[in-house]
Symmetry: C2
């Protein structure tokens, strides 16, 4: 795991500006469409639109779909789009291009890979996860286990897993499924260490990289990870509900048997053969026809991220979260806020989460002040620091605004207590 | 099944023009972007772009995603989009709005519903289908059966099923899965009759409406169908790889147990509860975050189709296919072409398929002449007649051009024998 040395933190807004001016990633910000006067700290829910997306989609509509019609599958290369995007993502997660498929949603990909894992460990009956794992990860595992009737989902606390993974994994564990970076706290697991511990107990490991890919370096190859999934619409900036990815390690390409076998995962989809024969490598994880408009949008986001320096992204992510944490720590406690995100770099993703019983109205007041973060039930204010487009001044200003809101009790105004809506 | 009386077929191009001028659906054509000089007979593979799609997508990019950012889930109504599109589709297939979900691909939806069916018939081990069913329907069933290890896929010929469905279904058949309209031949099953025969044997039925929805009337309610799926990108004109739909009859809402349980199918996705509780009705078939750009595009197509008169669509579809068949029949045999599509209205979908050992170069020559159809291996020239935007003159001209190509042997030119590419 790449770990930059601690940053010398700026102590004034001017110092932040100077850092931004010298930032090797400064130019990347211009590649995104960001509304003026908004500090966007929710790119881990929905990344902003790359500037190039608009023209790419227009071309898809005006030239490809409407003029070339069905011929665009070949003529505009739609048929090769998913593998092309997969290759871009592979470079971000330490995978070979043939180990990644872009298809479906993260939920559906979790299902495929859990299904593969259960068949690779037929004598074991348990899917192991964390108590606090992202809901869809838990639901998909619970649903699959309940559907077979022969498996079960078992949960352990994050603390126990992080402290002593071997003790949490027993001989009945077919597969351990975890989020690399926790969606709520922003805490990051030691991917290589937990993978090794699971392998030592004969279990396989599936990593959810939704909150890592594009912001945190991941090296699946080095960790000898078995399976992984991740979202296209967070740090990859692929647009709302962009297709997800799935990683299948080369070691499992030949033996994998997915429960979900659609024609796009067939060796020769357009031979229209009556019987199924899986495509080689991770291509077998493709299933039905991909949503091309959403996939084109993802392609733009992935190529943008793939063109940035991963080490620089990580260094800046840590610099921004370090700065925000340092600016807030002196007064958090006095306003009833608690820092939930670990301060140790090796345990931190690319977000800062604060706990407060009234996190909802605080989040609303912050949004009104121009700092968009989000709320995660029941009590978390979650602030994502996407290094590709955020600046040191953004982290500085966000801390200032939060402080002002807390100091003046602005969040206690009745207008912030309106009914909760989804985000 | 709605069945218009036979049309008086026009016998001149002028008569075709007169029919087009009087066509109650004439105005609908203008709602599509169609390249000049192309007769597009492949809307059953990829429907053309509705004119309104461009502005809708621009708004999604320029205002919703890039300005509202994550707030667009509520602010722009993305969160309610899938149920809205589902309600539009429900009206086209004789379903209640709460019986339809829009999600994922047809392949993934086939999987969910087959999984539900197997659990509703736990003592039965067979998924029954047609030998010639669309490949992904066969692959998904084969993959699921192989993955459980306890089920098998059995195939019967279409002829046998159509002639005597009861004889093909045995006491081990948990679910019969069929395409309503055959992708290759365009032959249409008697949906109500086969459903009743399956029910009489205690089996459930899953209908693939990919080649029906938007072109052929379907009344799932009247037929007491259990399950159905269909594509968004064919006659619904939702754009390449647009999300698919899934129908779950009310009678199964309470008992259904899907193998694929993602957070969007949870009763309260944004409560982030640790345990799964299915949403009511067909909403439980949603899974992960939907691809919003593709879904917005589908919404435009579905609302367009939902605004047209279903009886008029069917009448025109039959008039166009009748006309094309009548124009070709006199000379088909002499050029080695065979009509594969049934002439009986009750057995015909919205396409005309012709068999020829050299269907590939014939299809290429036809495309070069401005008539876009497609080839289906090994020997089928497939011509889709989408009633929403095609005219009688199009059917007339397409027949003329095909005749000219056959008569002059144009298709025998070496340039049409270039390597096959996917379509
Ligand atoms: C009958 C039928 N089912 C399913 C599909 C495609 O399914 P998917 O959308 O999963 O690719 C097609 C595509 O042509 C089809 O004709
Ligand atoms: C860790 C994690 N996994 C999965 C998802 C979502 O999965 P899907 O794309 O299937 O909705 C999220 C969304 O926030 C997430 O944070």
């Amino acid at each position: 795991m790449l770990q930059p040395s601690a940053t010398d933190l700026p102590t004034s807004r001017e110092a932040c500006r100077a850092l931004d001016a010298a930032d090797p990633l400064a130019a990347a910000r211009a590649a995104f469409v960001l509304p003026p006067d908004v500090i966007y700290l929710d790119g881990n829910s929905l990344g902003p639109m790359p500037a190039a997306t608009r023209a790419r989609l227009q071309q898809a509509l005006d030239d490809e779909w409407s003029r070339q019609l069905v011929g665009a599958w070949n003529g505009a290369g739609w048929i090769d789009l998913a593998p092309r995007v997969a290759a871009g993502i592979a470079g971000l997660i330490g995978a070979h291009a043939d180990e990644v498929a872009v298809a479906d949603s993260t939920s559906v990909n979790l299902f495929k890979l859990l299904g593969i894992a259960l068949r690779l460990r037929p004598s074991r009956r348990t899917i192991l996860t964390e108590t606090g794992n992202f809901p869809t990860d838990r639901y998909v595992a619970e649903g699959l286990a309940g559907w077979t009737g022969e498996h079960r989902l078992r949960s352990v606390d994050r603390e126990r897993l992080a402290a002593d993974p071997a003790s949490a994994i027993d001989d009945d564990t077919a597969v351990l499924t975890l989020s690399h970076v926790d969606y709520r706290s922003g805490a990051m697991h030691d991917l290589a260490r937990i993978t090794a511990a699971a392998h030592a107990r004969g279990a396989l490991v599936l990593w959810d990289l939704a909150h890592s890919t594009g912001a945190v370096p991941v090296d699946l190859e080095a960790a000898q990870a078995d399976f992984a999934v991740g979202c296209g619409y967070k740090y990859l900036n692929g647009g709302p509900g962009a297709p997800a990815f799935a990683y299948l390690a080369r070691s499992w390409h030949a033996q994998a048997r997915s429960p979900l076998t659609g024609w796009f995962g067939h060796r020769e989809p357009f031979a229209f053969a009556p019987d199924y024969a899986p495509a080689t490598a991770a291509g077998q994880l493709q299933c039905g026809t991909p949503p091309i408009l959403s996939l084109l949008s993802l392609d733009v986001g992935v190529q943008l991220l793939a063109g940035l320096d991963g080490a620089a992204l990580r260094a800046k992510s840590l610099a921004l979260t370090d700065l925000f944490i340092a600016r807030c720590l002196p007064w958090l406690g006095e306003h009833g806020l608690e820092l939930v995100t670990p301060q140790a770099h090796a345990q931190r993703g690319s977000q800062v989460s604060l706990r407060h019983a009234r996190a909802w109205p605080i989040c609303q007041a912050l949004i009104e002040s121009g700092v968009v973060g989000d709320f995660r039930a029941p009590d978390i204010l979650r602030l994502g620091f996407a290094p590709a487009y955020l600046r040191h001044v953004d982290a500085w200003d966000a801390a200032e605004r939060l402080h002002a809101i807390m100091r003046a009790g602005i969040w206690q105004d009745a207008r912030f207590d309106r009914q909760r809506r989804v985000t």
